[in-house]
């Protein structure tokens, strides 16, 4: 048997991606297809039971469920607040770190630590910080800073229960965005700044005319990634409020999780997950389509 060199190379290339491909098919593609199938059924979790086909009923139900609307609103609120929050703060930190000469590595590590900590643990920590009436945040605000008179019932009031979740989302995400932006900043040739200085540009002009335009592709990339992450907010909600009080902080993922795993309504849960996927895919497409310039779409 004789195989020519070219074919051999292609063959071995496939061979090497095979393990990853199989894992991808088994643990991602198969569950996605299965969930898609479930979303059209009144699905029973007992193996071997007959599942009732209900067509688009699960999808229809989502449109008349008031909690779906509420959780979608919360999911969007989370994205709208945490994505710019993370990007602005991360850009600020990245610019600072790009200019300092001493302790760069140290600060990079400090800002990156929240990223590698476990969501579950920091969620519990935030829940603890925001306890009321005797949590640390309340103590700081009332007894140390004297900003407010009475402790705020953070997790009990619908209006404030989402704040710890937003704060955690921003705090935990800064490090990742900062590292990406920092690497982009380091690709900007220093000559550009020197030239600008000779021409009399001030700091703000250098930022808006040189820095931001040159890291624009990276900004778009982080924007898209953070937005997808924002729509997938889940662990912090389940751990900090579990959707409460009175389902007021439910987000799409936590709500569909309750439907599927608490009430065993896997059909409805799957339908909700596909609706969310549809929203994310559309938004990501629009972002890339309109925010990237044609020459960046390589």
């Amino acid at each position: 048997m004789k195989i020519n060199k070219k074919k051999q190379q292609v063959f071995s290339a496939y061979l090497f991606i095979l393990p990853g491909l199989i894992l991808y098919l088994v643990f991602l593609i198969y569950p996605i297809l299965k969930a898609f199938q479930m979303s059209f059924y009144e699905w029973s979790i007992m193996p071997g039971e007959i599942n009732k086909f209900v067509g688009l009923a699960n999808y229809g139900r989502a449109f008349s469920d008031p909690i779906v609307g509420l959780s979608l609103r919360n999911t969007i609120l989370y994205t709208v607040v945490t994505v710019p929050g993370q990007m602005i703060l991360a850009l600020f930190v990245a610019l600072l770190l790009n200019t300092i000469t001493k302790g760069k590595v140290f600060f990079r590590v400090v800002y990156y630590i929240p990223v590698v900590t476990s969501w579950v643990i920091v969620s519990l920590l935030f829940k603890y910080l925001f306890q009321s009436p005797k949590g640390i945040i309340n103590y700081m605000l009332v007894n140390v800073l004297h900003v407010i008179q009475e402790p705020i019932p953070w997790l009990r009031a619908a209006s404030t229960a989402f704040i710890p979740i937003l704060a955690l989302g921003i705090w935990k995400g800064i490090g990742w965005t900062m590292v990406i932006l920092l690497s982009a900043l380091q690709t900007i040739p220093p000559e550009l700044y020197e030239v600008a200085e000779i021409d009399g540009a001030n700091g703000w002009q250098k930022l808006t005319k040189i820095t931001l335009p040159l890291i624009r592709p990276t900004l778009v990339f982080t924007f898209v990634m953070l937005m997808i992450g924002g729509f997938n907010v889940f662990i912090s909600v389940v751990m900090i409020t579990n959707g409460g009080p009175l389902q007021k902080t439910e987000v799409i993922l936590s709500y569909l999780y309750h439907q599927a795993f608490d009430f065993l309504d896997f059909g409805y849960g799957s339908a909700l997950s596909f609706l969310l996927a549809l929203i994310i895919a559309t938004l990501s497409y629009l972002q890339i389509r309109f925010l990237r310039k044609p020459e960046e779409l390589a």
Binding site: I3, L18, P19, L23, M46, E49, K134, P153, R156, F261
Partner: protein
Amino acid sequence: MLKQKNVYMIIVLMLTLSMLLVGCAKTEEVATEEGEEEVTISFWHAYSEVEIEKLETVVIPAFEAANPNIKVEALTVPYDEFRRKLMTSIAGGTAPDLIRADIIWVPEFAYMGALAKLDEVMPDFDTYKEAVFPGPLSTNFLKDHYYGLPLDTNTRILIYNMQMFKDAGIEVPPATMDEFLTDCEKIKALGEDKYCFADGGTYAWAVNPWIWSFGGDITDEDITVASGYLNGESTETAYEYLKNLVDLGYIHPGILGGGVDAWGGFGNNEIAMLLEGPWFTPLFSGSLGTDYGYAPMPAGTGGSISVVGGEDIVMFQQSQHKEEAAEFIRFMLSEDTQLAMAETGQIPVIQSLLDSDYIKNHDYFGHFLEQLLTAKARTPHPKWTKIEEIYTLAGGEYLTGEKSFEDAFNAASESIDGLLVLPE
């Protein structure tokens, strides 16, 4: 050249396959020296620390010594995750052989068809049926069959902080709802950050004792309708009473959401009373030097009625070792095992043990056993999880003042009415 390639290919394929197959590995049955097959049965539970130690160092070793061909693989699953983890494994066809299930889960699992009919699997089922308390046993019954046996039982009674009672000048714990209210007033007078009572939310385990003690209920006796019961007058009185306590700051606001570190507050003399089960004593054990006493649930117009808790042991239909699993059930219900677990605060379910010296002379079981005489069980219904969610939310909406009682509970009763009727 080609040969070498083949070797690489085989290695890659083997690695790939091994990655995939690891998850599918099944515990092999090995033959013991006597030639008998050794069988491993899995047992999931949510025992507490103290209980796990007893289970793993005393109970299981004793069982394995008595049954050398059976190994018990006990797995602790935290209570909050238990149902979800179990559902996933049932769906995947990998359910454990046995679990220690909250009594309130059993009707749902049985209805789903996940459980083995214990009265068919165990030829000697009637012996056990007659040996245990009828109340806890009833939680295993669904449509002509028994799906499990009780393992332990419990209820919530009032635990009061003696120091705070002394500071407030309260001499005896409140016996009635009126006394409870006046005592709360005295406790609040100790300071703005002192609370009379605390509980974790408006779920059934927390609110049902109040509802029942005021003469209300969730559904009618035959569990066919909630309207007229859950939104009935007596239930309304109970919720009004609770709302008043919340509004006056007598109940810790954690009941409205966000939870509360009730034991911590109790230990720090910030919370005067709790409703607790028999596990409180061995787990709390005065770690902060707090002296406490026991009293029955305060009586209202419906009497002093608390909620029955406890666990059943159930076997799964998917179990490949039903006989061995049944053997473990028998062992868990033996007098010796029940007494061993009693040392950790688990109230036994064997009637004959009630007259044993151990139970008679027990420090605190007496308080709970007395309350158990009148305590009621939460609605045993396959849709319980959903039912509870509905009135937990309604309770929250009413207590926070977001909705009137009528608005919150008429809607809740109507939704629950719909759930109570099961398709044949």
